[in-house]
Point group: none
């Protein structure tokens, strides 16, 4: 697992109000943007986070602020997808989590990265 991202402290949690039940939580983030680490140009993506929680849930406004912290940082598609997964896993210790990023086209190429932690069932 990667080292913790500096902005990970922005993530806030609240107690899973129903920890005895395995239920599915999906957050669809439509406005993610970061910078290309080679050219400094902006990248844009939709990010979907699916999970089954244990003791903690992520607070949505803190998730938004955490994801906004990438706005002016240069980072590869593959890296940011896994770092988001790692930061959320460290923070929430979910039973299962999947992060999927879909990036707008650059030079006629668009990319999709999908990473998982744990097992869903």
């Amino acid at each position: 697992m990667s080292a913790s991202d500096p902005s990970a402290h922005l993530l806030e949690t609240f107690p899973n109000p129903h920890p005895k039940r395995d239920y599915l939580i999906e957050h669809h983030v439509h406005e993610f943007t970061s910078l290309c680490p080679k050219t400094g140009q902006p990248d844009f993506a939709t990010i979907v986070i699916r999970s089954v929680a244990t003791e903690r849930c992520v607070e949505l406004r803190s998730l938004k602020l955490y994801l906004q912290s990438y706005r002016n940082r240069g980072i590869f598609y593959e890296d940011v997808t896994n770092v988001i997964l790692d930061d959320l896993v460290r923070c929430l210790a979910p039973r299962w989590m999947q992060v999927q990023s879909t990036w707008t086209a650059r030079g006629g190429i668009h990319s999709v990265i999908t990473a998982e932690h744990g097992r869903r069932s």
Copy 2:
């Protein structure tokens, strides 16, 4: 299971007219609204309730009034989805029930929460 919600007394039931048969009941609630517990701002969702009943069915007008009781209360997405499930389970003792809430976007993020009780087949 969570403590009973104060508005749970609003739920009325009628005898399942055909308790010897396992059949599927779906209610799609298009106009749910509650408040964000952190900001007090309104949240909006569609809620789908699927179940196989045992002895009792929920009366629809009472279901509407029960769900309207959340209109001015602050509650997290994850919590309200599970509380609705718990209140209906206590009231109806269904063989199986699923509650799924789909929330309109806030800050460019939209969420879907899905919780179940019992086994469908």
Copy 3:
């Protein structure tokens, strides 16, 4: 199984012209209407009847008249779905039958009820 509905005598049948073959019959009824048993207000639904017959098939005009008999009667969604299934089962003794009713929205809630008799294969 519920007691026979008074209008069940309206149902007419004709001999299954091909009783030795298991084949699938579907009737989609787009204009069903009945009354709410609590408020007396009209309800509207689409009803789909799927079956594998044994000796008898339902005559379509009689099915239409039978279903029209609910026009001015107060009956719950769950009840009418099962009563239609029971009346048709008593009348036709099908190998398998499914009745599914999809109701237009009331107070922002729309419902779908699905009941079966026997096994399809």
Copy 4:
């Protein structure tokens, strides 16, 4: 199996040009019409015939003429679907055949009938 329909003699066949290979033949008939046996009113349907042939294939113009022979005859949905299947089975002895008729709405009800002969694989 039903008695042979009087118009079945209209069906012409030609030798399956490739009898050693099991391959799939589908005919979609978009303009079938017959009469209701109770009211004399016209009925309209789409009929799909799927089969794996043995020694003979049906000639398409003869199939069209055969199906047109129902234009002025009163016959139930369930009957005509099975009679077409029986006539084609007698004429072609296919390894497998399915006949599916989809009827336009009458009195707000539309119907679909599906019958098979033999096993596909």
Copy 5:
């Protein structure tokens, strides 16, 4: 397998550039036309050819010319589908090949013929 079609000599091949790997080749032919053997009327079809090659691949321009050779010939749907499959199999010796022809409507009837050679996996 049918006798070789006179136009089969039009088919040209080139060495499979990667014979050690099983990979999928699909050609979708949108403009096939032949004549009805009974009426002389033009028929139109889309033909899809899927295959896993061994040593040879079909050259596309030669495939186009080969298929154009049917333009003024009377041949049944079932026959031409299988003859194309046979000619290509003789010419290419593929590990697996499927030919599927979808014909435009005639007299309100449209047809689909599907034939295979060998096993895909």
Copy 6:
């Protein structure tokens, strides 16, 4: 495996930032063009590259430049699809990779070529 393409040196890689996790990387290339080796006419394709990496990921701008190197070269559909797969496999040593090319119509025929290396799970 084919000999290395002269332009393969254009491919640049960066270390897989998360080599301990098997995750899915997809690149969709919407603007590929090469020449027909027989006629010299331009061909156009969409190319999708799916992989699970081991130690290295392909840098996107270098992938774009590598694919642009085919702009003025004559090469068969089947060949270029496999050569791209081979060059990327040699360069990245992925656990699994699939290359799929979908070509615009020529003479009324459009083609799809799909090749894989390794096993996905």
Copy 7:
């Protein structure tokens, strides 16, 4: 103008809250049903009522009850469309009103009736 319909007394009004401004009011009624005056069979329609008010607006629940009063009455499409217009005009004295009824198909025919009172601009 036709004689007042017996159910017209069901219509209730409230003062136009903004009588000095000409503004457009549209009500779309999705669940209208009446009976055919010749066969007694149910008819189903969507009715759209567009108007520019003067001193009074129609109260929606009373409009619903008024339209439900046609549920068990036999009346022609053309008649009911004009009677609804007449009753609303007598009750509301609008500057302009249009009533448009769109009926579900009977015997493969569906109808649309449109009547107006006054001038819109």
Copy 8:
């Protein structure tokens, strides 16, 4: 023009940054809700506000808070549409403004109200 709504003080403005140019401003409000003045039941609408400004523009967060002030107030569709128009006109003195509200169905009826102030061109 109606008396000023008590919540109108919530509306904040900022100087039109380009008052010398006539340009079109549209705000689409997807989550408006108020109460029915007769039954106390919640109503839901989408509201579109189109305008050409003079000296002032409405600040969006204040517009949201102003519209949220109707959440627990009973008011007719026709009234709230005109009151919103009046409050915004008093506050902004636009050259032209249109307010259009589209309400979700109640008892199978949905309504659209459209009011304008001034002339667009």
Copy 9:
């Protein structure tokens, strides 16, 4: 007209290659982002620029860099739309230009701003 934006110097032009002909140039910018001047939160928009040039055209990469300069600046929707129009008008002196910005929803409200300079025909 507003004072020139500091980033306006980023705009580069090239001579209109065909100044004697009035022709239409449209640029659709799918990835615009700036900050809310009140909350500092990111805003996202699609911006369409339509024009008829006189002596100069805007170079696309410079347009991209100019628009990216708003990435970390707080500015109102109405302002940025007009400032972009003003900067482009000063730089290009077009016969006609229209700038239209469509913003993603904030608090359930989405906005569209449309400003023009000159006359199109």
Copy 10:
């Protein structure tokens, strides 16, 4: 009008077979590609040519070869659109002609250029 493009000699014409009637001719070119004059990177466009001819029509294969001559040339969107129009106008002297080019996105911006010669009616 611009100087004649060197490749304009590739354009061949044939006599308009019906010069006495004004009729519309459209050619949709889906596979145009040229190079960016600043970066040398490939650009891709769809080009639509609409015209009303006088004495000559363009021969399609020559049009294809003419447009392919831009494959390896650096030229601005605005320029190539007008040059194509000029070359075709010089060659065909049409009563009216429109050339419209729609370019795939670069840096999140896609462009459409539309130029006309003469008057259509």
